[in-house]
């Protein structure tokens, strides 16, 4: 039997309660803030010796000095003399601990006097109620990290039922920027989730929005890890390897041929796919981009009319000079031009109850979208999208919007999340659970500010997503500045190193001063975890992700420079057929305008045919090569008679 670490103490002024107790230890005991301990009571209750598990939340140390002045006097005012004092003062280490669990649970009594022991691995499992979901026949544990104390490592597990639903769901991470805690934690947790997600719960994939820098751009490349990290992977039963199935999606730059991502190095393009949408996709989410103060009900009505009656239909009207079939922004612009021209010719101010001014406004706002979201929205109507209906189990889909404009980011987020929701509702996404990771929640779901479409969507996921298998992993620097319903619905919360100002906000008042201090000084790889099964926050260590860090990735695989259209086309087509050459591309596109080339490229990318080269080439209209016009046969002037008397 191990020796006790300390003894419970209680006084009239600081009595023990059912949820808190104090104990003292030897000065050199391995106890600190966050240490889990077990108290063995001395007196049986209902025939059972009560055991109480607690986590240390505060520590005190003091000596028998009544006043600092006595110490000054004792050293004659010279601190240097302290080393010569023959005796060290009596000193106490006193700790406050918050109760994690009583065994037995009833009757719930104040913590009894008793011996305090450092929690063993079994104790940790009981204290955190992990024993309820780590059963052999129904193990839903997802490793989150190691609890370390007194030279002992204990694996800490989250309950999948409470991480991805349906009991509770969602996870939120808070921490200061620059310590790689938030992204690293998510990368690690996704690897852990993929490794331990129980088969009985179905399948799971992740959609990660890369909103800044190269953080998530190299998830399929290995990292160079220390032996200590590898040992943690072994202990926690998670393969120490990068994600096996990762697909990247990024919009084009404004040139519509170069991908707008930091993962544009030609060596890495094999699993990078353009993210481009046409008019139909955009119009479904037009309200994301349209200013609600600007677009009124009348404009809304016209947009709805276009969506319902014009888009993808043969449309004729007496005002129009011709029949229109609107598939792209270019088609839409032609439709508007024809309509307004017809109205002008007729001198009409109304068309089908829509005033001409409204028509002009809607034309302006809609056609402006293709400019504001250049690179994402194609004029030609071709789309390149996530594999809706064909999501793979344990696959990661990274949507890189870090370099996209803000409007485009909003549109991408809104549409992808909506599509995920639609497919999950219909159970035809390809997987039963999707984890959506969004960083910078301060920006997308702020506590203050106007109601935005994106914030509404995040709230919707947070409040109803768990029933669908749509799980939100979110991160931000300042939790206090995120909408309360978003973070409040996160069943699991992780905290990395925190900013002092943030910790001073009321949301952290439930934590002890010592716990807040520890949070402000956490090192890389350490987290405080709150989980529905844990009645108190727990500190854990987690390994560095087994994937290449963003800044290492961009150094090893620099972003491709902007290139001429022929080189850009070649890069994209080589994803399908590496044998294609620049000379071949130049030969194919040499006679065509850039617009035609992009049309052909987008069509090829959208259809991803087996023979990409041939398909690409077939997209061009046949142009007869220029050749010199045959010289007309010269007919000699009739010869004059030799005897022409009028000849000069």
């Amino acid at each position: 039997m191990t020796a006790p670490l300390g003894l419970v103490v209680a006084t009239e002024r600081t009595p023990n309660t059912p949820h808190q107790f104090q104990f003292w230890t030897a000065i050199d005991s391995p106890v600190g803030i966050g240490t889990i301990v077990r108290v063995d009571g001395r007196v049986p209750v209902d025939g059972h010796i009560p055991q109480v598990y607690g986590v240390v939340t505060e520590g005190f140390s003091y000596t028998d000095l009544a006043s600092p002045l006595f110490d000054v006097l004792g050293h004659d005012g010279d601190p240097g003399q302290s080393a010569f004092a023959p005796t060290e003062r009596a000193e106490v280490r006193l700790y406050s601990a918050a109760v994690l669990r009583h065994v037995p649970e009833e009757p719930l009594q104040p913590v009894p006097m008793g011996e305090v022991f450092l929690a063993t691995e079994t104790d940790v499992a009981i204290a955190l109620r992990m024993d309820s979901y780590l059963r052999e026949d129904a193990n839903t544990g997802i490793p989150i990290g190691l609890y370390r104390s007194g030279g002992m490592d204990s694996a800490i597990y989250l309950d999948a039922e409470f991480l991805v639903g349906p009991e509770a769901a969602h996870l939120n991470i808070t921490g200061v920027s620059g310590l790689a805690t938030k992204t690293s934690a998510v990368e690690w947790l996704l690897a852990s989730l993929f490794a331990h997600f129980p088969a009985s719960k179905g399948s799971v994939a992740a959609v990660c929005f890369n909103v800044k820098g190269p953080d998530l751009c190299f998830l399929d490349l290995p990292a160079e890890l220390e032996a200590e990290d590898r040992a943690m992977y072994d202990t926690l039963g998670v393969p120490c390897e990068p994600f096996r199935n990762v697909r990247y999606f990024a919009p084009f730059k404004a040139d519509n041929v170069s991908l707008n991502t930091l993962r544009s190095n030609e060596e890495l393009l094999a699993n990078v796919q353009p993210l481009t949408w046409g008019l139909r996709e955009v119009l479904q989410f037009a309200e994301v981009l349209l200013n609600r103060d600007d677009v009124d009900a009348k404009a809304d009505a016209l947009i709805d009319f276009i969506k319902e009656r014009v888009l993808d239909r043969d449309f004729e009207d007496r005002v129009l000079k011709q029949q229109h079939r609107v598939r792209s922004f270019a088609d839409l612009e032609g439709w508007f031009r024809d309509l307004l021209s017809g109205l002008e010719d007729r001198g009409d101010e109304h068309w089908r109850t829509h005033h001409v001014a409204t028509i002009r406004k809607v034309r302006n706002r809609l056609t402006n979208i293709s400019t504001r979201c250049a690179g994402l929205v194609t004029n030609d109507g071709h789309t390149s999208d996530l594999p809706w209906g064909d999501f793979a189990d344990r696959a990661v889909y990274v949507v890189d919007v870090a370099l996209a404009e803000e409007d485009a980011q909003d549109l991408i987020f809104a549409r992808i999340v909506s599509k995920l929701r639609e497919h999950l509702e219909r159970r035809d996404l390809g997987v039963t659970h999707v984890v959506v990771f969004v960083d910078e929640l301060n920006k997308y779901a702020p506590a203050d500010g106007p109601e935005t479409y994106v914030r509404k969507m995040l709230l919707d996921i947070a409040e109803r997503g768990r029933y669908l298998g749509l799980v939100l992993f979110s991160a931000q620097q300042f939790r206090s500045q995120v909408h309360r319903r978003v973070v409040g619905n996160a069943g699991t919360a992780l905290y990395g190193r925190m900013d002092g100002d943030e910790l001073a906000t009321p949301g952290y008042a439930v934590l002890s001063a010592a716990t807040r201090t520890k949070l402000a000084t956490l090192s890389k790889g350490q987290l405080m975890v709150r989980h529905p099964h844990f009645t108190q926050p727990i500190f854990v260590s987690f390994p560095r992700p087994a994937v290449m860090r963003g800044r290492d990735g961009v150094e090893r695989y620099p972003q491709a420079a902007d290139v001429p259209i022929d080189v850009g086309v070649l890069r994209q087509l080589r994803r399908f057929d590496p044998s294609l050459t620049l000379a071949w591309v130049q030969d194919v596109i040499g006679l065509y305008e850039d617009e035609d080339v992009l049309h052909a490229l987008h069509a090829t990318l959208a259809h991803a045919p087996d023979n990409a080269g041939a398909y690409f080439k077939a997209q061009f209209r046949k142009i007869v090569g220029a050749s010199p016009a045959p010289a007309p046969a010269r007919t000699p002037l009739r010869a004059l008679p030799d005897d022409d008397p009028y000849a000069i």
Binding site: L7, D64, L65, A66, S67, F70, D71, L73, G74, H75, Q81, F84, A85, P86, T87, E88, R89, A90
Partner: protein, 350 residues
């Protein structure tokens, strides 16, 4: 050692001494004054519990011994003079011994006080600059009753060897009258005597088993074995008796910090002869003349070694002036180790 138990402060019941005369469980019932009251009320008819608020008898005003001076024979110089202690203080003391006592009226049997007395002694050993308890401290709880007047049979039946008579006849066969104040004083003296016995027991044990110096709070002459031990150093803080007269007294009272008086030879009544000297631990500027003044005792030694030994022990005692024993009001004279012993007993001995 009847009625005496060792207390390690952690598992209080494991070291209770077996006593054939003590009824089962009696020793445990005397762990505190309240436990003693319950036991007395259950066991003795016509006993009423004291409800005086628990003020220890030691703190109540008593007629104390009057301060006085005694001339003592010099063992180093013909007349007392001040000597500067040469060299720097040396932390050579290995352990500190002290005892505590507490007396309280537990109940009344008619007009007769039944006093609950608790005494203890402990050695605090210094290991790597930290003080820990050496072996087991000795703790004794007893009921002190005037058996000449109280129901002896019932009390003995209830308490066995844990009962002590405060009305034992003196040498001439007289018994103290049943004056309540006098009986209380007799009880307090008995507790004090028992505390001293506990201290002696521990001191003798240390001196018999260890060779390192031990600082004993008070004199060392109560035990012949201790008084003759080379490792025992007594430090007396109270000066109701000053062993100097005339110029010698002035010399003692004028000692400056780091100075000692000449060594004298003292043999109080009923105690072994020891060598002693006064030592000033702290500056007296702005203080009374007894501030920081202690009297050190060591065994009687050959005259040729007296100066050297007195200087050496003085250096040891001077080293113990830090850290301060504050907030004890006697911190100017008390070694921190002695305070540690008192605090330990206070914490473990109720």
């Amino acid at each position: 050692m009847d009625g005496v138990r060792s207390a390690d402060g952690l598992t209080g019941d494991r070291a209770i001494a077996a006593d054939p005369e003590t009824p089962p469980g009696a020793s445990e019932t005397l762990r505190s004054v309240h436990a003693a009251q319950r036991h007395l009320l259950r066991s003795i008819p016509n006993v009423r519990a004291a409800t005086g608020g628990g003020l220890p008898l030691e703190r109540q005003q008593r007629d104390m011994e009057l301060p006085h001076v005694i001339d003592a024979a010099g063992a180093e110089d013909a007349t007392l003079r001040a000597r500067v202690v040469p060299g720097a203080p040396v932390a050579a003391i290995r352990a500190f011994l002290d005892g505590t006592q507490r007396s309280e009226v537990a109940g009344w049997c008619g007009a007769l006080p039944l006093v609950y007395g608790s005494a203890g002694a402990v050695v605090r050993e210094r290991i790597h600059r930290r003080l820990t308890t050496w072996e087991r401290p000795l703790v004794q709880h007893r009921i002190y009753a005037p058996l000449a007047y109280a129901p002896r049979a019932e009390l003995e039946a209830a308490l066995g060897a844990m009962l002590e008579d405060t009305t034992k006849p003196s040498a001439d066969g007289t018994i103290v009258p049943p004056h309540p104040t006098l009986l209380l004083e007799r009880a307090t003296l008995a507790v004090s005597r028992n505390r001293e016995l506990l201290e002696i027991a521990l001191a003798e044990r240390w001196c018999a088993s260890r060779a390192e110096p031990i600082m004993i709070d008070g004199g060392i002459g109560a035990s012949e074995a201790v008084a003759q031990s080379a490792c025992a150093v007594g430090v007396v803080k109270s000066h109701r008796t000053l062993y100097a007269e005339g110029d010698g007294l002035n010399t003692v009272l004028a000692l400056r910090r780091g100075e000692r008086s000449s060594v004298i030879r003292i043999a109080p009544r009923g105690r072994s002869e020891v060598l002693s000297w006064y030592l000033r631990l702290r500056d007296t500027e702005g203080r009374d003349v007894l501030w920081g003044l202690v009297r050190v005792e060591m065994r009687a030694t050959a005259p040729a070694n007296v100066t050297e030994r007195a200087d050496e022990i003085s250096r040891w005692v001077l080293a113990e002036s830090s850290p301060l024993a504050a907030p004890d009001p006697r911190w100017d004279r008390m070694a921190y180790g002695i305070r540690s012993a008192e605090e330990f007993l206070r914490a473990t001995n109720n």
